[in-house]
Symmetry: C2
Subunit: 310 residues, 2 copies
């Protein structure tokens, strides 16, 4: 039996859809908003080109979708306190900057991303560093300039900076690069993944909840969901890295094992990693029970994430 | 006659003080606030160390001083709308991140900064990239979490992101690295310097004015001051790079000429560059006339900047 096809079964009340079915309609709204955020007219043309290359035409838009679906899970649209789209755009800009910097030769040294040359291969290292810096800076500018209650906006900025910052995503990257000490076994793997991937997904989900005006209990439920889904998503990513060829993966496969990365697929049998991702996803969906039917799409997205085949 | 000692005369009503006399008292307030912003407890120790190395123990703290003196120039302290110290800290964090990234081998490839090894020489390139990213992210977090009116805070964040972003400082770095086309002669030099250096100084001064609750006319006067001082400061820096030895400069001297950088000291005779810096400073001080005596310290700082000998 081919381990690339075998999948454990998971009980879930969520509808079974592929990740593209779930994200497709959301992406149609996200792409133009993202493109509009990268249309600054006083930006030097080659910099603008590198920023757009890094952020447009590719990517699942998972994090912005999480912002939008979390807002929908927390409250009816008419009750939202502000439009969650600026938060969705900002979190994707942070994600895209992190990919550009992570791919640099001094970091993961990747030449393939989303099926094409990485930013530094296409534009040179200096431009890639600067384009990453620019995407990160622009993320906060988008939020600061968004229409809406400035108290909410300050909360969103703090949330994004926390998730993407030195105690969140950057801490994860430091740990992933073995630049700091991390415990052996599951605690160490969890430390890395909770920060490298889950921290920004957590911020995305909480930003959606904040835009919707969610109460404390709803924010708590969504936070627990996000942490579990974020971890499950990264485990699924590790499994794909270990099992897929480049033409399907869209980036260099098997890099984790080659570079001695600590992942769920390099440190555990692939099937065990898969089961853990499925279990975490089921727990994530359970955490959303208090939110009722409004959380349906968010659950469906979570399930599709661990079942994706690329 | 030694060109390193000869200085043109400048008429100014500002008191004549050395830059250290002007900045000393301000620095005493800025340093602890900056250190406090870098004390995050959930940050991996080596990352926190690299961030502190890049941001503490060195630097003139010119930009945060500009924030504080601009607030003082715009209104009496009792009338300030919010404490300008978080803005002062945030702008310095952005400045420090930019130095770390600019020093990287793929950028200016500098090994000496503020009299000691640059961040990537000390901690490696990967950590330097991540520490820079972390300082930038933290800058916006500091502002978002600052006590005060959130409408003002959103304005401050937009101002900082604008000055430090892809139409501001990053555009300047792109131009400085010859990664985009820039006109020949004075327009090109001005394009580079206005963005590379003046954009963040402009943001610093405007942030101080915003904290003070300055009216439109005062903000306009301070903005004109900042643009001229920012340009004058970078010209003075170019002159020092061309004329000082490493032990005084604290960084590798003569790099601009060696690396073919377009500066006022590589494209103009040094004396002409000096005179231009003095003229811009005089114009900057004139722009502050409408603000009266409250602007005295800001003028004194401006004058000390072009007269500094390191």
């Amino acid at each position: 039996m081919n381990r690339r096809q075998e999948r454990p079964r998971m009980k879930s009340t969520a509808t079974s859809k592929t990740i593209r079915q779930v994200l497709g309609p959301l992406t149609k709204a996200i792409e133009p908003a993202l493109a509009a955020a990268l249309g600054g007219k006083c930006v030097p043309a080659p910099l603008a080109q590198a920023m757009r290359y890094a952020a447009l035409d590719g990517g699942k838009r998972l994090r912005p979708a999480m912002v939008l679906l979390s807002a929908a899970a927390a409250a009816d649209r008419v009750d939202w306190r502000m439009d969650p789209m600026p938060a969705a755009v900002a979190v994707e800009l942070v994600h895209c900057y992190s990919l550009v910097h992570d791919d640099l030769p001094a970091m993961d040294d990747d030449s393939l991303r989303r099926g094409r040359a990485t930013c530094h291969v296409k534009f040179g290292q200096a431009m890639a560093i600067l384009a990453g810096d620019a995407l990160l800076t622009r993320a906060f500018e988008v939020l600061a300039q968004a229409p809406g209650d400035k108290t909410i906006i300050a909360e969103l900025i703090a949330e994004l900076a926390g998730g993407g910052g030195p105690a969140g995503m950057i801490a994860g990257q430091v740990a992933d690069m073995a630049l700091c000490q991390v415990p052996d076994g599951e605690p160490g793997r969890r430390y890395i993944h909770m920060r490298k991937t889950a921290a920004l997904i957590r911020a995305a989900v909480r930003m959606g909840a904040i835009c919707a005006g969610a109460d404390g209990a709803a924010i708590e439920a969504l936070t627990m969901f996000a942490e579990k889904v974020g971890l499950a998503f990264q485990i699924a990513d590790d499994v794909l890295d270990a099992t897929l060829p480049a033409e399907v993966l869209g980036k260099t496969p098997g890099k984790d094992a080659q570079s001695g990365k600590r992942t769920y697929a390099t440190e555990l049998p692939v099937e065990q990693a898969r089961r853990q991702a499925e279990r975490l996803t089921a727990e994530a969906c359970e955490a959303l029970e208090p939110l009722g039917e409004r959380a349906g799409n968010l659950k469906t997205l979570a399930v599709s994430l661990v079942r994706r085949d690329r």
